[in-house]
Symmetry: C6
Subunit: 270 residues, 6 copies
């Protein structure tokens, strides 16, 4: 077990992350942080929510502790648990408790995937009490002013069942994310994928076409991330059609008809 | 593990909480406390139930121990459990047992989210026996006269499945909460949001409009808490439209049509 | 952990409980006890089943060990379990085993809420074997003649799913409880609520009206307990309308139409 | 933990149980035992299956180890488990292993209630291998010739879901039980209930009427056991109508219409 | 805990089992063993699959380790687990690991009853890798050439839900079993049941009639095993009708109509 | 517990695996590895996905750590857990952590069978962070450049329920596999099955016919693996019809009609 300082250092973002703002999201997030309000990020897969959090953490000079939520994430996974050392129960802070004690940012990615107890454990942290009851220690931690809690989810494919309860939602300041504007997106793809701007623009155009397929049953269109990965394969010598198939089409669907439609889109552009 | 006295002190409310009574709720709660009767608070999200409990605890000079209920809250989480220390099983009181021993107020927030065993464990405490059987210790605790148990829930979005059983409900004195009157609410928003009364009144008017959307499918209208958070963003320099979008509209829904209707409401007022 | 004698003493009822018999329930229960037969009490919420058990225990001078049943009550919760002390597994009797060893009365409240293993564990105790196999100890306890097992449930809101199996039911002598006769009920409400007989009679009349609402969708009418609690609020200076709303109407339902109907009933009487 | 010999002695039946044979069930069971075949008893609640097993065990001079099956009975509950003693894992035989080692009769009551792993664990014991693999010990026990496994269930109210699988059923010699003939039943009721033969005959007649109600929705008619319990109440001075209501009618149903029909049957006879 | 050699010896089949081959199943199984291929046996209850495995193990002079699969069989039950001895975690091989290490035959009876993790854990053993990853030890065991894995199930009453996945099925060489030819079956019944050949032939004829009832709703017809058990009862002096009822009819069904049809079949033959 | 170096050595593939490329899958995989991108393999049972991974690992000279996914595979099974040694909790790396630390290839076979927490635990490894948070150690591991994560599944029989979420899919470069071309497949079958090319071609033709039965309800046609196994039986002296039945037909289905159709196909060819 590493010491706490060491654990936190690993989560500091030292280099300025590459981030192009689309609106006033940075100002809103800074005002929310100043008022001790929690942040909720909505938006599709791979559109930059995680990158935004990295940028914000860099700007605030705070460690960013990210937790990917899922069905089996228990309260103990977040808050902490006792481990047996030499026959003694030794307490180990979970990522949320670590963030509260250190005044870091705790980012719960895809919060709606979590079980309800995870969602509820953040309630007293997310209103004006800003407290974390660590029941197994019998402690009630008060969050320092630097601490911020942030959650994200993708409203596009949530089932009603997993929707956030109003009593949870209404604690947050919420920012809606979407894919970047074509020019911005092409710039990102060119820089991160290592290809020229013209090819990047063609890939962005292709992505736009796949995003329109959502009404035809595609769960989600190609993300910026997929475009970057396609670019990387091309840069390494894979021909454009093979690269599109491997890095852009096949990751989107297994449905033969959708795959055929996607192939046609590639052919129409390249 | 902190000592019990220390644990209780953390739960004492030393400063008078800001609370504006809407009816006779304070008198009823004091009479219930005097007769050793448990309290049930009903009402929508963010309308002041938690604040009311803080006010009551301050008035009675009793520690307030709050438990946010959820699906996975077990009886042991409430009553206590054995922890292993140097190979010994050491008992640790849960929040409910702590409150019973100390004669504090135990407040179970969103009780209907809890599993049935949580609801049932409070039965002998909530009738004239006022006893808590701590079965793992083989003890039967008698609650001192100061002890009070209080539960809350939101009748607006409970599923039938999770409804409280009559045998549970009929143990409580029940108080129904609603949003404050417009003038009262504007005063709260102005004071807590740090904005002028005129803007506060406009926000309250907007909130009323969102609350009427409940019949159009909105799970719940904007709470007083959301108005306060909107005010805080404006106070920190975010323009009113951006602040409303981030702190009032986006937290309410992901549905494009409802979002559009909410945007229009904002435009009609600001 | 307290010693067994101490644990049992806590369960002795020293003062004669206030109980008005409605029929031959006391004689039947005494004959069942004499013949070593188990007892099943049926009836609505708050009509006096628990009080009857207290009276019977007082009359038989036997400790009364009550267990509130629920979904998560395991066989170990009833029979006992091993706890680790100084690295040793030390056995701790559960309430049922404690009652069998001591020849006490064990009362399982709301038995149909329990899991099937709870219902089945009492089978050999509830027929002429009167044995409790404590499998984890490898012991087979024979119940002394004083021991009695008693269970209760409310036939009014049981789902078919949770019905008792015939093989369980047919082990019991069964007594059906209902609300007391108006005069008897008024006497109880006056004495326990600390109000005059006239007001008590009006409350009983009101209760009768709420009980007739069962056909209109009310899960259950006002119990005697609710009338007593209403009386207590009035005695402490809450006006009659406010007291009825807080202690009698709101605990019954969240349905706006039913609440309105209940309010009208109050207005027609007071 | 008692020693094994002591545990077994508790299960020996020293006094001849009162049992009137209805057919050749004793001969069949003895032949099955002689050939090392397992026994399956079918029949309604309280018709004498358990008593028959006690008689058979007495006749074979073998200990009878009974296990009431239920949903949560695990393989470990039957076969055994390790318990921690002074930091050592000490093995404790479960009832099935105990019976196999000692050559006793193991009787699994209401086998269809058990989970599938319970049903499957008896497979190698119930065919010509007659072996019990105790996997946690790495042992393969061979049952001695005296060992017998016997199971029972009530075909009247099994759900299809819980039906025994053919691969389980086809290992057993099966005997079907029913209520005794009226004369036999009256003799049993008179002797065990302590009442005269005439009253016993009337009770048997009444039982017959209730058994015909099965087609009108009654889960099961009155068992011989209920008649005996009614007799016992009458012997102790409870009048016949009150005794029938408490010991015969109320245990059968909660349905108002069925209860009324049952009351009428009582009135037509007494 | 017995030593490994001792554990294996218990599983060696020393006497040649009585087995009459119906086709080329022995040759196929030997060829599969020679090529290191796993074996899948399909067929109805009690038709000789287990006996065939005993014969094969005897012929190959390999220990036969049989595991009856069920819903609650975990990977640890198959692969092994750590047990605490004097405060140390001591590893204990499960039956599958034992068989892999020793080069024995591991026979998983009724594989479709097992949870998916059981089915998946055999994948790397059942293809050309022939490896067993023992993850808790961090070991990757290579099976010696003698090792064979064999599974069985009854295709007659599998639900679609529990069907084997193609990725599991397509690893096996599969042999389909059925009831023996009448003459063969009569020989088996006469020898194992201890009755003359004529009676055995009549029983086989009766069995054939019951097997045709499958289309009328009988889950499965009488197995050879049931005929043998009927013979054993007759040999011990039970008359043929009583023996058929107890050992052949009642084990097949609880349905009154099917039971009547089966009774008629008995009467038509005896 | 073996030392880490030893554990890794077991996973090195020393001999060049027999693999015939069907397209550009090797180039794509090498480019993905070079860019630190994760790999997703789609395709039917037994078409060579596992063999491809072995080939890739051999080519990259990296250890290949394979995990067969299933419903009960927990995050701890992948990441690691504490084991008790002499009263101390000693950490043991799971296969995924082992692969990350050592810079090996981790191949999750049939990923869609895994629980969501398994799918989510690879998220931070599968995007440009390439980190594995080992929460129980409080460590955040950075994967070295050699490390690669690869997953596979069969899109042919996935339920919608178990489909990969877009946020998971869109992290991968995906390659679609299918059965080899007839000539290629015959070469593989001849070499690995040890039969002549003509017979191999006939088996491939037969396989093609079974694959067309998919539209008639067959879950999946015969894989290359089944053809090899059929060849092996023939090489060892089993006649071609018996070999086809045992190694090719019976493994495909239990449905009598499909089995008949498959038999006919065999007869039409041999």
């Amino acid at each position: 077990m590493k010491a706490t300082e060491q654990r936190l250092e690993e989560h500091l973002i030292l280099e300025k992350p590459y981030y192009l703002a689309a609106g006033k999201e940075v100002e809103i997030a800074l005002a929310a942080h100043k008022n001790g309000l929690p942040l909720l990020l909505k938006g599709p897969t791979g559109c930059g929510k995680t990158r935004f959090m990295q940028f914000l953490a860099w700007k605030l000079k705070l460690p960013l502790i990210t937790v990917s939520c899922h069905d089996d994430l228990s309260t103990s996974d977040l808050v902490g648990r006792f481990l047996i050392r030499s026959g003694e129960a030794v307490w180990t802070d979970g990522p949320l408790t670590l963030a509260v004690r250190a005044g870091a940012i705790c980012y719960l990615d895809e919060i709606v995937e979590a079980r309800k107890d995870t969602t509820v454990v953040i309630h007293p942290l997310a209103d004006d009490r800003r407290e974390l009851p660590v029941e197994k220690l019998g402690e009630l931690l008060s969050a320092p002013p630097e601490f911020m809690i942030s959650v994200s989810y993708n409203p596009g494919y949530q089932s009603v069942l997993k929707d956030l309860k109003p009593s949870t939602r209404q604690r947050f300041v919420a920012i809606s994310f979407d894919y970047p504007e074509p020019d911005t997106e092409a710039e990102i793809v060119a820089i991160e994928g290592g290809i020229d701007r013209k090819l990047a623009l063609s890939l962005v155009k292709l992505a736009g076409m796949t995003r329109s397929l959502k009404e035809s049953g595609l769960a989600e269109g190609a993300s910026t991330r997929l475009l970057i990965q396609t670019g990387q394969l091309v840069r390494d010598g894979i021909d454009i059609h093979t690269a599109c198939r491997a890095a852009l089409i096949e990751p989107l669907s297994d449905d033969p008809e959708l795959l055929a439609a996607l192939e046609e889109m590639v052919s129409s552009i390249f």
